[in-house]
């Protein structure tokens, strides 16, 4: 017995198959050999396994003799840290409540120059850049506004045109509010439209002091940690 499916059903099946293929399958095909960017190559403010971002600044010794205010002015690393304290959390002006932390971003620089660029973007002195020339040596700026939980990066995976940053919140019980940021080197070999996915993993507790503290809700996490975004690496002009 021959069964003939209606044309609309066939079209829907084709659409669904195409959708599946055009998302992860295609990405997977392009990223057949995704690589891990080791945390030991990441410059960050107090994240285990990373390099201390304060070591990026030349002549770090001089900062050891400065007071808090001077440190905030003279040290780019400290100033950037300070820019993420809860006073700077974006507000939802219409509702008068906290807004979301905003999208992560990429800067066309590495090392201390990347820190400078990221600082300017955080301050609002420079717009987030969404397009870059091929061959640019790029750095991803990951950030989290201050909260009573640590933010830890677990893993950074890089494909040809996809970056995944996995992080988690860690509750600790010390009465501190900490903000965090990381400069993740992306290299100069990205091409086309690049999707950066900021992916939250399960919360941890570095001490059992807050063992009954509920995990942050999705909304709370969005208010604290930068979100996924896209950028484009344009081919060189003909």
């Amino acid at each position: 017995m021959k069964v003939t499916l209606p044309k609309t059903v066939l079209l829907w099946v084709a659409f669904i198959l195409l959708s599946i293929a055009s998302s992860d399958t295609i990405v997977a095909a392009e990223d057949r050999h995704p690589t891990e960017i080791p945390l030991s190559r990441v410059w960050a403010w107090e994240m285990p396994g990373t390099k201390d971002v304060r070591d990026l600044e030349p002549n770090r010794e001089k900062f050891k003799k400065m007071g808090a205010r001077e440190l905030r002015i003279r040290s780019l690393a400290v100033n950037t840290y300070s820019r993420l304290n809860p006073n700077f959390k974006p507000m939802n002006k219409k509702k008068g409540s906290l807004g979301f932390a905003g999208l992560g971003f990429v800067v066309d620089a590495t090392g201390v120059e990347a820190l400078k660029e990221a600082n300017l973007v955080l301050k609002g002195s420079k717009d987030r850049q969404e397009q870059f020339e091929a061959g640019s040596d790029l750095t991803l700026f990951f950030y989290a506004y201050g909260s009573s939980r640590f933010v830890r990066i677990d893993e950074v995976v890089k494909g040809k045109n996809r970056i995944i940053v996995k992080y988690h919140f860690d509750s600790h019980g010390m009465r501190v509010t900490t903000q965090h940021y990381a400069l993740i080197p992306l290299g100069n070999d990205l091409q086309g439209n690049v999707k950066v996915t900021i992916k939250r993993l399960e919360d941890t507790r570095s001490t059992p002091l807050n063992s009954h503290l509920p995990p942050y809700s999705v909304k709370e996490a969005r208010q604290l940690v930068c979100e996924s975004f896209d950028f484009a690496v344009l081919p060189p002009p003909e």
Binding site: G67, E70, M174
Partner: protein, 497 residues
């Protein structure tokens, strides 16, 4: 005008040379103005880690300017480079210790509130209330221990609530009374709230930040979370504000950083206790032998608590206040329930106000007084019988703002030794009403005997603090302390005015 501009310019230039203004300075605890450094005073701290000790640990684990007298893990002296010096816990401990005792020897950018105080730092070895209590007890038993800093806390678990009935909170209230040591506890940070900042007998500290720089307006850091700070009942958890925003702190390996949180507010208060004790002991000892201090009652935690709260800044220029302190909504003390209701002694957002070490010293200086005729400023440690009252009559006419603060201890009983807490000891789980006497405080005309005609009163029923801050016309006044529990026990109290 030229002079003012020059001053401002020079002030900015001199900031590094002055040390960190947000800690010891005018915009911080106002501790530098006391001219004291905590010499000879023994203080402690206890938390999950302990600061690296330059006398035994590797440089990667300590900061050269932070040198505790001794370090412990649980009830033992800790070994070199132990797990307690490592990672976030070790880092946090150095930061907290630095706010108290960072010294300028060797020279550096950080000077603590009481750089010459003798700090004993303990780490607890287990993450349960009993382990925390045992580790705290080890520190509290050290001879002449005056104050212990606790810059950590936990959320309520299971059936327990932030109502001062957990083992940890009961321990703090028991130890305060039994071991005569003031616990200075960091208030909840962000959404963390609960234990042990729900204690009655210690001092719970919230973090302040200056939000109107140069004008000197302060409020609680991240204000807006204040509702989370209220323990069960009508009592508010926060007793006082202290600097806790972008505080310069030392770190492991001689690093420095800026940090935020009540973890750094609390040691400002603990360090201030060291300054006050240094002054008082100097007065008590020969050659001074000042009779206002020879009773050694300045060592009583109720006295320290009463003086620190009484001298807290509220309104700039008023009652020695060096700054304006406001709630999250911008309103000042005059708009608070604490100001407008006799049943609420402290404000949920600012406690009694902002720590001012120099004002606290001013309050301490006249020495201990007794009921009867008293000077305009003073303090007393006294015992009052159930159902009775004591009057303190000013020896002169008084006008303007009068602050009066009364503090007493909740009495917690336990099994086992009366002088120490050990594994296996059990706190006797009584209703708090059975552990807490009700004392009230009145400001009255000197010739008045009816408390219903008091000019101002503080008559909370669920707290161990009463506080009056009242603007009075010129006249003759007296302070009355009344013990309203006619069937209760005698009660020791500290009073400051």
């Amino acid at each position: 005008m030229r002079c003012s501009l020059t001053f401002v310019f020079l002030s900015v230039l001199c900031l590094p040379a002055l040390g960190d203004s947000t800690t010891r300075g005018f915009l911080g605890a106002n501790a530098a103005a006391t001219g004291l450094d905590g010499s000879g005073v023994v203080i402690g701290m206890v938390e999950p880690g302990r600061p690296g000790d330059p006398d035994k640990d590797l440089p990667a684990n300590y900061h050269s300017q932070v040198n505790p007298v001794q370090v412990y893990s649980g009830t033992s002296i800790d070994g070199a480079n132990s797990q307690f010096t490592q990672g976030g816990n070790g880092q946090h401990a150095i930061e907290v210790a630095g706010v108290m005792i960072a010294s300028n020897n060797p020279a550096g950018s950080i000077t603590g509130i009481s750089p010459k105080a003798q700090l004993h730092a303990g780490a607890w070895t287990g993450f349960d209330d009993v382990s925390r209590a045992v580790a705290s007890d080890r520190i509290a038993r050290i001879s002449n221990m005056r104050a212990i800093n606790v810059s950590a806390g936990r959320t309520p678990q299971g059936l327990d609530a932030p109502d001062a009935t957990s083992i940890w909170s009961r321990f703090i209230d028991w130890s305060t009374e039994a071991q005569d040591v003031l616990y200075v506890v960091a208030g909840g940070e962000g959404f963390n709230t609960g234990i042990p900042e729900d204690n009655f007998n210690g001092l719970t500290v919230a973090a302040s930040q200056e939000f109107n720089q140069g004008i000197g307006s302060f409020r609680q850091t991240w204000s807006g979370n204040e509702s989370a700070f209220d323990p069960a009942g009508a009592r508010v958890a926060i007793d006082i504000l202290a600097p806790g925003f972008e505080i310069l702190v030392p770190g492991r390996g001689d690093n420095t950083s800026i940090q935020n949180g009540t973890s750094f507010a609390a040691p400002h208060v603990t360090g201030t206790v060291a300054l006050l004790q240094q002054y008082a002991e100097t007065q008590a000892n020969p050659p001074n032998s000042n009779p206002g201090f020879t009773s050694r009652n300045h060592r009583e935690p109720e006295v320290m608590k009463a003086i620190l709260l009484n001298s807290a800044d509220k309104l700039s220029g008023v009652h020695g206040s060096s700054r304006d302190v406001v709630r999250g909504d911008g309103s000042n003390w005059t708009a608070t329930a604490a100001n407008n209701s006799s049943f609420v002694p402290l404000d949920e957002d600012m406690g009694a106000g902002h720590l001012n070490a120099n004002s606290a010293l001013t309050n301490l200086r006249p020495g201990e007084q007794s009921p009867g005729m008293v000077p305009r400023i003073g303090w007393d440690f006294e015992n009052i019988g159930a159902g009775s009252f004591l009057d303190y009559t000013f020896d002169r006419q008084v006008s303007g703002h009068v602050a009066v603060t009364l503090a007493w201890n909740r009495i917690v009983d336990k099994t086992g030794s009366s002088t120490g807490y050990n594994f296996g000891d059990q706190f006797i789980n009584q209703n708090i009403d059975m552990e807490l006497n009700d004392l009230n405080l009145y400001l009255m005309a000197a010739n008045e005997n009816n408390i219903n005609n008091a000019i101002a009163s503080s008559t909370a029923t669920e707290d161990s603090v009463e506080h009056i801050f009242s603007d009075v016309p010129s006249g003759n006044y007296k302070i009355r302390v009344q013990h309203t529990d006619f069937l209760g026990d005698d009660q020791d109290f500290g009073l400051a005015w």
